[in-house]
Subunit: 442 residues, 2 copies
C-alpha cells in the first residue's frame, strides 16, 4: 500500500497499478509501469518498473507530478490443463519447490511475481520441460533461502525419500540461492546410496529481469535429473555469463562465490561432474568418480545437532570471544592459511593466543574443527608451529579441504551421532560424501 | 631435541643431524637428510627431509633401523660485506621485515631455515636485487602472520612513515601470507597521500622447497617499489602457477584465496593495478586509477578500536549468539547472497530471525555492518525483503563490495574516530582507499 497521500493522488487521476506512467520531479522524468508498493518499503515513494526491468522508487514530494501514458492491460493466467499426459518413452522427474525465485511467473503488466509450482504452471512457463521428461511437481514450502533452517533440510530429505519410493527417475529441488550450497551439502550427508539424481537448482536473477537465468538452469537441471547417470546430490547452475551451459556441481564441494553473477556457483577444489549444454540438451561428463544411477534403496540419515557455531579467525580476535562459545556443542573456526589462529609461540606482547580458550572448549568435550578461510585449498596442521599446536590439543581438520559451509553441516551430523570426542573426530575425518577430496599433488 | 632413546641411538651410530640416512621399519625404507627435531613435535619420531623437499616423521619403534648413507657437510655462511655501495643511477628501496618465510635462507645440509633480514643477507640470497635498486633493509619484527595483531599494523605504519621521512623511493614489507591482506588493508587506511609505493610481499612456499616463490615475489616487489608509478599500498604476489609474473594488487581489494598455491592472492571485484614480469622486470599497467608517485607528505591515521567481531550468518544461527556480541564496539556479519541473514518475514516455525537481536545491538549504539560471504560481488539490501528489513533497522553496507576482511579493518578505524552512529555510518559508506569500487554495469 502507498501512503494515504499517494493513494489519493492516484485515485484522483484514475491511475491504477500496472498503468504506464510518466513521473516528473523538478527537471527529472521517469517513464515506466506503476508497481504495487512493497510491504516494507517507504510508503511515500512511487515505484515504477523501468523498461530495462529494474524497479526504482521516486520520493513523492511537492514538485512530483504523475500522469498516465498508457493504461495497463491486466493479464489473466489461463492455467493449462493439469496432469499432462505421460510419455512412456521418457523418464519421470519430480520437481519439488522449496522457494526462491527460480519457479516464478511474472505478470508483466504489473511486474508482480507469482510462484509457479504446479506441473501445469511449470509447463506453461517452461514448455521445453515436456520435451525432456514427464514432469511431476509439488511445493514443499516457499522460503527465502536465507531463512532456510536445518529443520528444513530434514524435511526436504524426507520428502525426497518419499518421492523416490513413488518411483521417479530423478528429482529436482528448486531452492533460493543464498544458502543453496548449505542445503546441498546437508542432503549429500543425509541421503545415502541414492538410486537416481537429486539436483538442486536456483536462479540468481528473478524472472522479471531480461537476464534471468531461471529457464536455462531449470531446463538443465531437469536434463541432469532425467538423463544423467550421476546418482548423487548435485547443484545445477549457470557455468558462464552466457546462456550456453550449466555446470553440474558436486554438492559438498560447491559454493556461492558471487553475490549476483549468474555463474556465482563454483566448484571448490574439484571439477564439476558435468557440463549440461542448454541449446542441444547434451551432457559432457568431466569426472567419472560418481555413483551410477541404479536400482537401490536410499538410506536416510537425518539427525542433526544444530547447536553449532561457525566463526572466523582474524587479527585481534579475543580469547574471550572463543570462551563465550562454551554453550555450543561444537565449533567450526574458519582459520587463516593452512588452518591457523593466533597462538603466539614467540610470546609477542601484542598478540593474544587463542590456544588456552580452544583447549578449554576441547577439554569440556566441545569439538573444535577448522576450515579454510581461504575457501580454496587444503588444511595442513603440520607445516607451521601454529598448526602443530592446534593439532596437538586436538583441533580437527588436518588434511581436509572442505569448505567452511560443508564442514559446519557435517559437524551438525557428527554431533547428532555421538558426543564421544573420539567418535566425532573419526566421523569428521572420514570422507562421507566427497567432502574431503583425494590429495592431489600440485 | 629427540627423545633420550633416539639421541642415544644416534650417538651410538655416530649419526649427526644433516647426515643422509636410510631408515627402515618393517618393509618400508626412507632415505633422506636427518633433520633437527622441531620444538613441539613428537620427540619419538625421526624426521628426515626427502629428496622432494618435504619433511616426514617416522615413529621410532622396535623394528626401526637407521644407518648413515652419507655424512652431512655443514655449510658455513660467509656473510657478504655489509652496506653495499650506493648507485646514484638507481632508486633506493627500503625492505622492512615483519616475518614470514619470504626472507629466509636455508642451510641445505640440515634444512634449517635462518631469517635473512640484513641488506647483506638479502643481497647474498637474492643478488638480482642489486641490479634493480639500492637496497636498505631492517627487521621490524619476526612474526608468523597468523599472530599479527592490529597493534602491529600501527607499528608498521609508523615505521613506514619514518622510512619515508628518510627519503626512500619505495618501501617493501616482507610479511607472512596468512593475514597479509588484513595488514595491507589496514595500511591503506592508515597511510594517506603516499608519495611512493608501499608494497607488501610474502611467500607461499618456504625457501627450502624447490617450488618456493620467494625469489620471484621479492624481486617483483622491489621492481614495483623502485620503478612503478603506483604510489599506493599494494600486494605483490605470484600471478600464475608458473614463475613468469606477479600481480600488483590493490591492497583493499585482495584476498588470500587458496591455502597453498603460489597464486593464492587474487584481486576481488577489480583488476590488479599491474603485472610485473619476472624475466625482464617489465611492468604492464592494467589500470590507471591510482595515485601517481610524486613528492608529497604522507599522513598517518593510525587510531584503531579493535574491539570488533567478525561473524558468519548461516542456517541455524541463533539469535542468542548475536545477542552475546553486545560487549563488542562493532560487528561485521558476513551475510549470505546480497547481504542477508535470517529475518523470517513469513513467520516460518523453524526459522529464528536475527532481526530483533541486531536491532538491539544497533539501539545500544553498536554498529552492525554486512559484508559478502560470497567474497565476490556487491551487497544490495534493496532487492529482497530480508535486505530491506536490515537496511531499515540501520545495518550498514548497502551497495558496498568490500571483502569481509577489509570491512573489519575499516570498522576498527571508524570506531576509533567516533562513537556517533551517524558518523560511523558516514565513514563506512565513504570510499577511503578504493575499498568500495565504482558500481559497474554487469
Amino acid at each position: 500500500m502507498y501512503s494515504h497521500e499517494i493513494e489519493s493522488l492516484l485515485k484522483s487521476k484514475k491511475i491504477r497499478i500496472g498503468d504506464k506512467v510518466l513521473i516528473t520531479r523538478g527537471k527529472s522524468e521517469y517513464a515506466g509501469i506503476l508497481m504495487p508498493r512493497i510491504k516494507l518499503g517507504d510508503m511515500s515513494s512511487l515505484v515504477i518498473k523501468l523498461p530495462n526491468g529494474y524497479n526504482i522508487g521516486i520520493k513523492h514530494e511537492k514538485d512530483t507530478k504523475i500522469r498516465r501514458l498508457e493504461p495497463g492491460r491486466p493479464i489473466r493466467f489461463k492455467p493449462a490443463e493439469d496432469a499432462p499426459r505421460k510419455d512412456p518413452e521418457k523418464h519421470t522427474v519430480s520437481i519439488l519447490g522449496c522457494g526462491g525465485t527460480i519457479a516464478s511467473r511474472v505478470e508483466y503488466t504489473t511486474g508482480a511475481v507469482y510462484p509457479a509450482f504446479s506441473p501445469a504452471d511449470l509447463l506453461l512457463s517452461f514448455p521445453e520441460l515436456a520435451d525432456i521428461a514427464n514432469i511431476k511437481s509439488r511445493k514443499l514450502f516457499d522460503l527465502l533461502s536465507e531463512d532456510m533452517a536445518p529443520e528444513h533440510w530434514k524435511s526436504i530429505a524426507q520428502e525426497v525419500v518419499k518421492e523416490m519410493q513413488s518411483g521417479v527417475d530423478g528429482i529436482v529441488l528448486m531452492h533460493g540461492t543464498d544458502t543453496l550450497h548449505y542445503t546441498a551439502a546437508a542432503l549429500s550427508f543425509m541421503l545415502r546410496d541414492l538410486p537416481v539424481p537429486v539436483v538442486l537448482v536456483g536462479a540468481q536473477r528473478s524472472s522479471d529481469r531480461g537476464s534471468s537465468d531461471n529457464l536455462v538452469n531449470l531446463v538443465s537441471a531437469v536434463v541432469a535429473a532425467a538423463q544423467s547417470s550421476v546418482a548423487e546430490v548435485t547443484v545445477c547452475m549457470h557455468g558462464s555469463m552466457s546462456d550456453d551451459f550449466c555446470y553440474l556441481h558436486q554438492a559438498t564441494k560447491v559454493r556461492k562465490l558471487h553475490s549476483s553473477r549468474r555463474d556465482a556457483f563454483q566448484s571448490v577444489n574439484v571439477k564439476p561432474y558435468a557440463k549440461i549444454f542448454y541449446p542441444d540438451k547434451k551432457i559432457e561428463y568431466l569426472r567419472n568418480d560418481y555413483r551410477i544411477r541404479e536400482k537401490r534403496t536410499v538410506k536416510l540419515d537425518d539427525k542433526l545437532d544444530t547447536n553449532v557455531a561457525l566463526v572466523y579467525a582474524y587479527p585481534g580476535i579475543k580469547p574471550e570471544f572463543i570462551q563465550s562459545l562454551r554453550n555450543f556443542d561444537g565449533i567450526v573456526i574458519a582459520g587463516t592459511g593452512l588452518g591457523h589462529v593466533p597462538t603466539n609461540p614467540t610470546g609477542d606482547k601484542f598478540t593474544q593466543s587463542l590456544l588456552p580458550a580452544i583447549r578449554n572448549l576441547i577439554h569440556s568435550n566441545i569439538p573444535v574443527v577448522v576450515a579454510p578461510q581461504t575457501i580454496y585449498g587444503r588444511l595442513d596442521l603440520n607445516v607451521y608451529e601454529s598448526g602443530r599446536m592446534l593439532n596437538e590439543i586436538g583441533v580437527i581438520g588436518d588434511g581436509c579441504d572442505w569448505t567452511p559451509e560443508t564442514c559446519l553441516v557435517k559437524l551438525m551430523l557428527a554431533l547428532a551421532k555421538s558426543k564421544d570426542m573420539g567418535k566425532i573426530r573419526e566421523f569428521m575425518l572420514t570422507n562421507i560424501a566427497g567432502e574431503i577430496s583425494d590429495r592431489t599433488v600440485i
